[in-house]
């Protein structure tokens, strides 16, 4: 076992523990913090895969954006819903556990069936640096890039409309809805 394998095992163990913490912890705030840990370990894994730009984007977008957004919403509304006292159908947890184990077993089986040959000797590359990724994004993948920007714009507008107070969208002339004070 080489050092890179040992490093992968350590980071992967932290990542798995954090993922288990996300789904098992009782408080939503703890779940969000475990999610932050998981995203950080995934960024480390991207670095080991020589995708340096993607690792930076992972930290900036997920850890800096999405987790903060989730934490804001939890602080606003979600904190009091404790998963272990709330009402639930009795079979939900068992069905989820069974489906998860089934999926994991089938995925592991197919991976071990398909990839038991020795790994190809991959040399060190410079494919993941921001220069190369930017060049690919703005030349070969320009159309999907623009489509992604349109998607983000639509999502921004949708979130804005959904987050407003009161009835919206078909009462455009009526300025009755007061601007939201704290939750946008």
């Amino acid at each position: 076992m080489t050092w890179s394998m040992l490093f992968f095992v350590l980071v992967g163990a932290v990542s798995l523990a954090a993922a288990a913490g996300v789904v098992l912890s009782r408080q939503p705030v703890h779940s969000a913090l475990f999610l932050l840990t998981n995203f950080a370990t995934l960024a480390v894994l991207y670095v080991t895969l020589e995708a340096q730009f993607l690792a930076a984007a992972q930290v900036i977008i997920y850890a800096g954006g999405i987790v903060i957004l989730i934490l804001f919403v939890i602080m606003l509304i979600g904190g009091e819903t404790n998963d272990f006292v709330a009402r639930q159908r009795s079979w939900t947890r068992g069905v989820a556990l069974g489906l998860g184990i089934l999926l994991l077993a089938s995925l592991s089986y197919s991976v071990f069936q398909g990839f038991n040959q020795p790994p190809a000797d991959v040399t060190a590359i410079q494919g993941g640096i921001p220069e190369a990724v930017g060049q690919a994004l703005f030349t070969q993948y320009l159309l999907p890039f623009e489509l992604a920007s349109i998607l983000l714009l639509v999502a921004l507008l949708g979130a804005l409309v959904l987050g407003r107070h009161g009835t919206v969208a078909h009462t455009g002339s009526q300025p009755a809805s007061p601007p939201p004070s704290s939750d946008d």
Binding site: S4, Y62, V73, D83, L103, A155
Partner: protein, 103 residues
């Protein structure tokens, strides 16, 4: 060099954790966090396949992962806005109590 199958197994574990969270949790925000876990597991797979494929100069795997990150950001924003809107109407984020469409 770490074998490719290790990355795939790790991604499978992460995806399964996310699936369990999305199915079993009652807090809608926790369900959203499970979905984020699943998207990230798919991303790990994409980048690992890109790295271990022969053509590392073609950045299709990384670009795909970047688009998934953009989609995940949009999904989180719209999902959280939906949760806030639902909370204003129903005063709950428990997905078991949001059964307006159930017969």
């Amino acid at each position: 060099m770490v074998p490719l199958s290790w990355y795939l197994i790790l991604a499978a574990f992460l995806f399964t954790c996310g699936l369990f969270g999305a199915l079993a949790r009652r807090n809608a925000i926790a369900v959203l966090m499970g979905i984020e876990l699943m998207l990230n597991a798919a991303n790990i797979n994409l980048v690992a396949f890109w790295r271990y494929s022969g053509a590392v100069t073609d950045l299709a795997g990384q670009v795909f992962a970047l688009f998934i990150i953009a989609v995940a950001a949009a999904e989180a924003a719209v999902g959280l806005a939906l949760i806030i809107a639902v909370y204003r109407k129903r005063k709950t984020v428990n997905v078991e109590e949001l059964d307006l469409l159930a017969g």
